[in-house]
Point group: C2
Chain length 275, copies 2
């Protein structure tokens, strides 16, 4: 998952990348329809969805995605939370998280999102992150920039802030015990940079892409959470650093990553030593 | 600001409360128009507003509010961030925070909100909290319930969660140094209840009112931040506890408050002893 020593992404033509991105955007449209149906069935502005409805949506969207990949790109691999990996040896591997932020979704908080990514020979090539309830979509491809609802995003401005003002998004504290007790890492970060936000959905990655957060620190996520941000951040002039990967005991490894504006990433990284 | 020993709110008739609430809702509509104009002038989905534009919006909205109060209820007092207190001795005192979450607003994050409150003899009577960019409005009056975009909100269900799962919203760590060094309070809370969210806008109060957060802990805010939540939370069956008020050195005191579902408030309060 860390970038391979050799980068083969220029083997994939601009036109082919555009075709893959169009496919991913088209699927995100379908996924919105499925989520809309679920919302109409059980989630309203004033009541909560049943957790099982959400699980059902997750399964339904991931299955539809796998069916589409099988139909359109039968030689490609797929990685997803619900059904594991198929064709792990394929150079092109699609990655999906149908509903990131399940807890927020169930509670009617609109920041949840759908995430789609495509890796080529282990390097991030295509990403789509869609927030149906906020009507916000980011989509991008390697060396082709990022669009925010069809508007091209500008690259970050270089305007470093003080430690007190630096806007940092961080995993909820719970995640820092997922692999081993790393609460001290959380404590160190939020003491050094106290202007923190904790969103617990991929909406923080959207904020980082837009430059509204200067940097994001995520502990013990999976590749399906991060695959789109991994494409977007370098495209807007940022740095995406995978700090460590560890055995999750459940198939795909846990990933710890720091990403955002280069000056902010450089300020945070030293706090993660010994991780 | 703590509830007075005697509660005089039933001196205000149901009809009068409804009239005040209609006034506040009507003003929130005007406030949305001003914010829309500002957004069109300088804030788009892909660029950031100038901080001075926001300050300008704050001043413009608060001035318009004061003018309206002076015209419609000339005997009422007003408290606001930009222009201080007028008629502090008046039994009815309106309170306004034109744009709560200025930092989010400037960065294009849609969770900022406008807050309006009315106190009667120091007790909360009317509240409106409006999120223009999310198209979400909460409005409520003492003993008349809370509406979410015109739908009546139900009262909380009583379903306590484990400490690991309890959904807690908390001030960013920066606020815990505003009055004195109380970082230990933050650390204690997020260690005991690690399923934290840090939003740094009144949108967390909206989530608490809707029951999407179980409890909110806010340190060193002002009454204009809290005045609407103070009305809403008891109306949906919750508890709103002011833990302490301190000299801010800038006129209105700093307020520390814990509010939300009664079982969750009771779990958090013991962690704040010695505050």
């Amino acid at each position: 998952m860390t970038l391979p020593s050799q980068d083969f992404r220029n083997e994939v033509s601009t036109q082919t990348r555009a075709t893959f991105l169009e496919f991913a955007n088209h699927f995100a449209d379908s996924s919105r329809n499925i989520i809309d149906d679920i919302c109409r069935a059980g989630l309203s502005t004033t009541t909560k969805a049943d957790k099982s409805l959400v699980t059902q949506a997750d399964i339904q969207i991931e299955q539809a995605f796998r069916d589409e990949i099988h139909r359109v790109f039968p030689e490609h691999g797929v990685i997803g939370e619900e059904f594991g990996i198929v064709k792990p040896e394929a150079p092109f591997r699609w990655i999906i998280d149908p509903i990131d932020g399940t807890e927020e979704f169930v509670n009617g908080v609109p920041t949840f999102g759908s995430i789609i990514g495509l890796h080529y020979k282990a390097a991030p090539l295509i990403g789509v992150m869609d927030h149906p309830a906020l009507n916000i979509r980011l989509s991008g491809a390697w060396q082709q920039g990022v669009a925010y609802n069809n508007h091209s995003l500008q690259r970050y401005e270089d305007s470093p802030k003080s430690s007190l003002d630096l806007r940092i998004g961080i995993s909820k504290k719970k995640n820092f015990s997922r692999h081993k007790d790393e609460n001290a890492v959380f404590d160190r970060i939020v003491t050094t940079f106290p202007n923190i936000r904790v969103l617990d959905t991929c909406y923080s990655f959207t904020q980082a892409t837009l430059g509204a957060l200067d940097v994001v620190v995520e502990y013990n996520l999976r590749i399906w959470d991060l695959c789109a941000a991994q494409v977007f951040i370098p495209e807007v002039g940022g740095e995406f650093t995978i700090v460590s990967e560890r055995d999750s005991g459940k198939g795909m490894p846990y990933v710890c990553a720091v990403f955002g504006k280069p000056w902010a990433v450089e300020r945070v990284l030293p706090l993660l030593e010994n991780t």
